[in-house]
Symmetry: C2
């Protein structure tokens, strides 16, 4: 296994995530991606303490999932990150989901995340300086990493 990204999160496949096809239901790949995003928030200092103190958090604007391999029960999933881009308020992240021990990834995901303040109305809000610095470092270390999964694209029958 040669996971190309920055290790972010790992989990076992739960029995209740298996569908009538005998494998991990498509949406639960997305749940693993969602939990991995929580781990990214912790790493960047956007953790529960930050959220309580500031009223700020991340909202997901878009999530693209590419399903490459079936995943069976009791496998361990490792999620790796490449941060593809960022601006004052947004993160564009690529995640790969690998079954531990496999030679190829099981799925790829891309996310667009927006930093917001949750008040009476929800408004986009710039990252604080310490978080912006952590984002810059993660962007820098992502730049040298190869992509195992093709970039997201518009969907269509070709």
């Amino acid at each position: 296994m040669s996971v190309a990204g920055i290790p972010l999160y790992r989990t076992c496949v739960a029995p209740e995530w298996i569908d009538y096809n005998g494998h991990l239901r498509d949406a639960y790949y997305g749940l693993i991606v969602s939990y991995a995003t929580d781990a990214l928030m912790d790493r960047l200092g956007l953790d529960a303490a930050y959220r309580t103190a500031t009223g700020c958090t991340l909202y997901t604007l878009e999530m693209h999932l590419s399903f490459l391999k079936e995943v069976m029960q009791d496998r361990t999933i490792v999620v790796a990150l490449r941060l593809l881009g960022a601006d004052r308020k947004r993160l564009h992240a690529a995640l790969e989901l690998w079954c531990e021990g496999d030679a190829e990834p099981a799925a790829g995901a891309e996310l667009m995340l927006l930093h917001v303040h949750q008040g009476a109305t929800v408004r986009s809000h710039p990252f604080p300086a310490t978080v912006a610095t952590a984002i810059g470092e993660l962007l820098e270390s992502s730049r040298v990493l190869p992509a195992e999964v093709p970039a997201s694209r518009s969907m269509g029958l070709r």
Copy 2:
């Protein structure tokens, strides 16, 4: 509310789908999309009886989710379909998720689905004639429907 698509599925938002942000977690929009896909399979004759009799089913190749509005607990979600395309083995579907009573959709989704036979190895497999006919009818009735949600696209900071 003017849901543009073909009504496919409805569900209440479960308490366990709410995250630390106080709203429906991103991945559970995807679970609702996944359950709506099961409803589409039932409608096309790809139901449990078909799957048992033939060993054939649908696999999801790609899922794109666009999050447009927060969804709070106890809302009822209505899912509407437009079938965008099909070939001998694949379906390209657009779904809209609406909170019942709202004037705008809460989310859009696109799916690429592949018909497969699950044997010792999983192989793509043409739709049987009766299913192909049902797909043709759904394509025909989808053609006149307006899109409330923009088509999927490659992701990036612009």
